[in-house]
Subunit: 193 residues, 2 copies
């Protein structure tokens, strides 16, 4: 599934695909740079919290560069009164959460900061458990007006890559990974970094 926010432009009667098709290797490199910036900032987390399910893969790759235990929280979304607003609902939380987060430096990892609603929800919930600090690391941030806000307690926010407000097609969502690679090449999204 590509994340929402994309548009298809009609141009000369043809539909132009403006989505970002990303490869695993490009994302791996983005996360390597992201982890480097986190470490350079002096932030030394005790624990990684990955927001599921989008944050599972970025969180696991980050651990290759910042080797800390990974906890996860799982969220799903529902629409209230059929309105197009996504309301997060916990599908899994951290057991014995106070023990595991109290006084700890937490690196909260997600796939994309889109509307920011998920991040706001997670940050507020996690802050209730008395962590020493929470820093946010998102693989991608979409440049757009946000509906959610980052609570003022959060002073560190790291982004792997800034993207325009278009659909992002992640490789893990691809039914056909060869087709994903082909589209990524066509879109010029494979960067030789």
């Amino acid at each position: 599934m590509c994340t929402t926010g994309g548009i298809l432009f009609a141009e000369r009667g043809l539909q132009v695909d403006t989505r970002y098709y990303l490869t695993y290797n490009r994302i791996h490199k983005t996360i390597r740079r992201l982890a480097g910036r986190i470490l350079e900032s002096g932030f030394d987390p005790d624990v990684i919290v990955a927001i599921g399910s989008g944050g599972f893969i970025p969180g696991r790759i980050i651990r290759t560069y910042i080797d800390r235990p990974i906890l996860t929280v799982g969220l799903s979304y529902y629409r209230k009164n059929n309105k197009p607003q996504e309301i997060p609902k916990k599908i899994q939380w951290i057991d014995e959460v106070e023990n595991k987060l109290s006084g700890k430096k937490v690196l909260l990892v997600d796939e994309v900061d889109d509307t920011r609603v998920t991040l706001e929800y997670c940050l507020k919930e996690l802050l209730r458990h008395g962590p020493a600090e929470i820093a946010v690391a998102v693989l991608h941030n979409k440049r757009k007006a946000k509906r959610g806000i980052i609570p003022q307690e959060i002073s560190r926010y790291f982004v792997g890559e800034e993207l325009e407000d278009r659909w992002i097609c992640y490789p893990w969502d691809a039914k056909d990974i060869d087709e994903q690679e082909r589209l990524a090449r066509e879109m010029g999204q494979i960067q030789k970094k």
Copy 2:
């Protein structure tokens, strides 16, 4: 980190690297076939449980083909009395686990079935919570004598790919993903499937 079990053969005075270097795309395709076999078997899970942190990426990719909520359990390992036996220890479990697993069909996902100790531990713990059925899906099984056993309650065990008892270098563990790709090509591990 490459999983244990590998050996380096001395051959004509040179060390030959017998490790499996795997690419993300190869793994994505392996999981596509694995998911296909699970669905063809008639097993229709209610929930996926990914064993962390190795199962996070396989679990997330499986969800692209079998779209169910993912719960996670996190394990770490310690050595008892300095013996080379890995004893699993929970670092995260499922909150309200009885509610979430009782009467449910569970697809338990992990990266590799190596010694089988992790699987045995997880299966026994999860069986205590009264699921209707648990099926196991591992990305890789190593052909070797196992220290752990699959409890007799488990009748479905799915493997993405059978491998010899050698080190497996997963792409998510690669510090340098270009080097991983190069080594995978050299080892002839990139399959055009």
